[in-house]
């Protein structure tokens, strides 16, 4: 059957099981939008206010559902507005397929209207990208794009389709198998046996896990593995929600703003079983000290991560779920009573207690009150900064894919888009924890949330400052608050109401229950403007490049 490029794109989207796309129309994607119009019964299109949020929404959709997110944008500014969203997804290994239009082939390279070298711009922030110049190649390229985005270590893939290809007719044959790059090998039995021996001989094993566990849907296997070897666990920020926070072996997040007990126990271990982590500098601190006196068993699907930041004593490269299943079959269980006693001692140290000044409204109180009103499936998205770390520290997660946050890139403004994506993807309530700084970056997306009447609760923690930068200025720059005291005059309640959302203000802790009850009773978008102290800090903190011995626990 003969189809145009645009019709063919719709067919492939359907073939790939896509029922929702995010995007923004424009001159170079008119034909695609015409076909979306005709197929609106099969594919739902969510329009945001800005392409950046569409990219974040596709990302949030993917993180909350595990399915590949799709975003469509026009050429030139449409495509460049995707850049931050693609880079965010790239750094956190999220499967996203971006479709961009470009000027017609004969106009490419002539600085035509809204022309930009989209592939050139997105090359370092995509897993792979294409510009298609022959419509006959389009079906294979699109199928390949979906495969690459989801397979192995996932990531964003961009397909740039010049305008004339969208109207060119081509013979379309439904799904045929596209050519495959060699699949990642599973760890061989010898290496598995060596790894098992290493675990068995360890007196103080510690499991440090990351986002790879969530991507691989390996939560159950990880918990079973920890229980079998009796190892305490800590996670990177991206790993949070992979195991329930109340799991008896889970000590919390490690790293710069991790829990003292988790970081201290990790520092006392003799074997670090690292599962689905890439040892970011925010997670390791001083790299030389990090790997001193302990062996690292690194389990990851991406061979390039082995030894990239921290040398591995043994590496198991492969799918995490499968690898842990294979390890569970090995002889790895042993007694670690002495180690458990030591861990108990660490847990009882005064520094292990986490808490804020409860005499005033504070983030801990807010997050605990939010948790009382959510269920285990509620997704919590964040922006970037202090509120993000407080959420990581004080919100108790129970199920994987319920924490959506920009880890690698640290994108302020990620929250609104990603929370919209999560509302759409899960069809359930999403809570966005944000702040005055981050919210101002993409608050225009309130309009999107209102248009679709999304079940979104926005907790805006307003400290009248760029809190995280301010904290660094307090600690490392002698209180010189350069450009971090915002003093905005924004009335968030009026603002939200102007967009058509419900809004509530919370200034006193005595109103906490009443205000949150009202917020969580809403069906549509609601914003809670909560005032907190400018000097509230994220603690504990291991200063950059430091170790557990440098930890700061008191403000």
């Amino acid at each position: 059957m003969k189809l145009t490029g645009a019709q063919l794109l719709i067919q492939i989207l359907l073939e790939q099981g896509v029922d929702t796309v995010f995007g923004y129309p424009g001159g170079a994607v008119l034909s695609i939008y015409d076909e979306l119009y005709k197929s609106s019964d099969k594919i739902r299109h969510i329009i945001t206010c800005h392409e950046q949020a569409a990219a974040h929404a596709a990302d949030g959709y993917a993180r909350s559902t595990g399915r590949t997110g799709v975003v469509i944008a026009t050429s030139g500014p449409g495509a460049t507005n995707l850049v931050t969203g693609l880079a965010t997804a790239y750094l956190d290994s999220v499967p996203v397929v971006a479709i961009t239009g470009n000027v017609a082939c004969p106009l490419i390279g002539r600085d035509s209207f809204q022309e930009v070298d989209t592939c050139g711009v997105t090359l370092p922030i995509t897993k792979h990208n294409y510009i298609v110049k022959d419509v006959r190649r389009l079906p294979d390229v699109l199928r390949e794009a979906f495969r690459i985005a989801a397979e192995g270590r996932p990531g964003p893939v961009l397909v740039d389709i010049p305008k004339d290809l969208q109207t060119a007719a081509v013979e379309f044959t439904p799904a045929v198998e596209s050519p495959k790059k060699a699949i990642v090998k599973q760890p061989d039995s010898d290496t598995l046996a060596e790894a098992a021996k290493l675990i068995k001989n360890s007196k103080k094993p510690f499991i440090y896990f990351g986002g790879g566990v969530i991507t691989a849907n390996a939560s159950a296997e990880l918990a079973a593995f920890a229980e079998k070897i009796g190892a305490p666990m800590g996670s990177s920020m991206m790993g949070l929600s992979a195991v329930p926070n109340d799991h008896p072996l889970f000590l919390g997040m490690t790293g710069m703003h991790g829990r003292f007990a988790a970081s201290k126990t990790m520092a006392c271990s003799d074997l670090l079983v690292a599962v689905g982590v890439r040892f970011s500098d925010r997670a390791t601190g001083n790299k030389a000290e990090f790997s001193r006196n302990r062996k690292v068993l690194h389990i990851d699907i991406d061979p390039a991560e082995i030894g990239k930041n921290i040398p591995a004593y043994i590496a198991l490269v492969g799918d995490i779920k499968q690898t842990l299943t294979l390890l569970l079959e090995e002889d790895i269980s042993h007694s670690v009573t002495a180690w458990h006693n030591e861990v108990e001692e660490i847990k009882n140290m005064p520094d292990s207690r986490l808490g804020m000044d409860m005499s005033r409204l504070n983030p801990q109180m807010l997050l605990e009150a939010v948790r009382e009103r959510t269920n285990d499936d509620t997704v919590v998205a964040t922006d970037v900064g202090q509120h993000q770390m407080w959420t990581a520290q004080y919100y108790s997660f129970s199920k994987p894919r319920t924490f959506i946050t920009s880890g690698g890139l640290g994108t302020m403004g990620f929250g609104m888009g990603s929370a919209i994506g999560s509302c759409i993807g899960t069809g359930r309530r999403t809570v966005l924890v944000t702040s005055d700084g981050s919210f101002h970056m993409n608050m225009n997306e309130l309009a999107t949330a209102v248009s679709y009447n999304l079940p979104l609760v926005i907790m805006l923690l307003d400290n009248n400052a760029l809190g995280m930068v301010r904290q660094w200025q307090t600690m490392f720059f002698e209180n010189r608050y350069s450009q971090t005291t915002l003093n905005r005059k924004t009335d968030y309640v009026k603002l939200a109401e102007a967009f058509g959302a419900k809004a509530l203000r919370l200034t006193d802790k005595k109103d906490l229950s009443k205000v949150l009850d009202e917020a969580f009773a809403q069906k549509g978008p609601v914003l809670v403007h909560a005032l907190i102290d400018s000097d509230e800090k994220v603690l504990p903190m291991i200063p950059p490049g430091g170790t557990i011995n440098d930890i700061v626990t008191k403000g």
Partner: protein
């Protein structure tokens, strides 16, 4: 860890943009390229690329692993320098206005098994192939006469004997 010269042989898809993906990866990750040569193979869909760089063991491992992740890269191999034939081709334009210079240069051309490919009353253009040691020595010899142009193709390399890029190695010796 010591910085050593290393040589990578690669088979890549012969498509637009592949070169920038590879050179971009080197630039982004702070890897240095000393020489790069590329050309279509007997299969027009595939190009072969030879890259010379310097780096320690960590760097060499990372280069290979990061390159292997690129969709357009089919095979990457860190070549064993002792089991690889390497060649580079130079075109050199050298001043040879007087008879003495000219005959001395021609003598060197013979000894180095180079070839004169163009001639004017005041210059000679010489083609020479070989591995880098020999080519370096030849350039040093010519320098005093005055080199007005030097073109290098970059190093290209092929495994010795039955070593074929992308095929499992037969380690057994008869």
């Amino acid at each position: 860890m010591e910085n050593e010269r290393f040589l990578l042989s690669m088979l890549v898809n012969n498509e637009a943009g592949v070169l920038i993906r590879i050179s971009g990866l080197f630039a982004r990750r702070g890897f240095n390229i000393a020489s790069l040569s590329v050309g279509e193979t007997e299969n027009p869909e595939i190009s072969r690329m030879t890259i010379v760089g310097t780096g320690d063991e960590y760097f060499r491992d990372q280069v290979v692993r990061q390159l292997e992740k690129l969709q357009d890269v089919r095979i990457v191999e860190l070549m064993d320098m002792n089991d690889t034939v390497t060649r580079e081709l130079f075109l050199i334009k050298v001043n040879a206005a007087d008879q003495t210079s000219r005959s001395q240069i021609l003598e060197a051309v013979n000894i180095f098994r180079a070839k004169v490919i163009d001639l004017t009353p005041v210059s000679l253009t010489i083609e020479i192939t070989g591995e880098s040691g020999k080519l370096g020595a030849f350039i040093e010899y010519l320098k005093p006469y005055g080199i007005s142009e030097l073109c290098r193709t970059g190093v290209t390399a092929i495994g010795r004997g039955n070593n074929i890029l992308g095929k499992p190695k037969n380690k057994e010796e008869k």
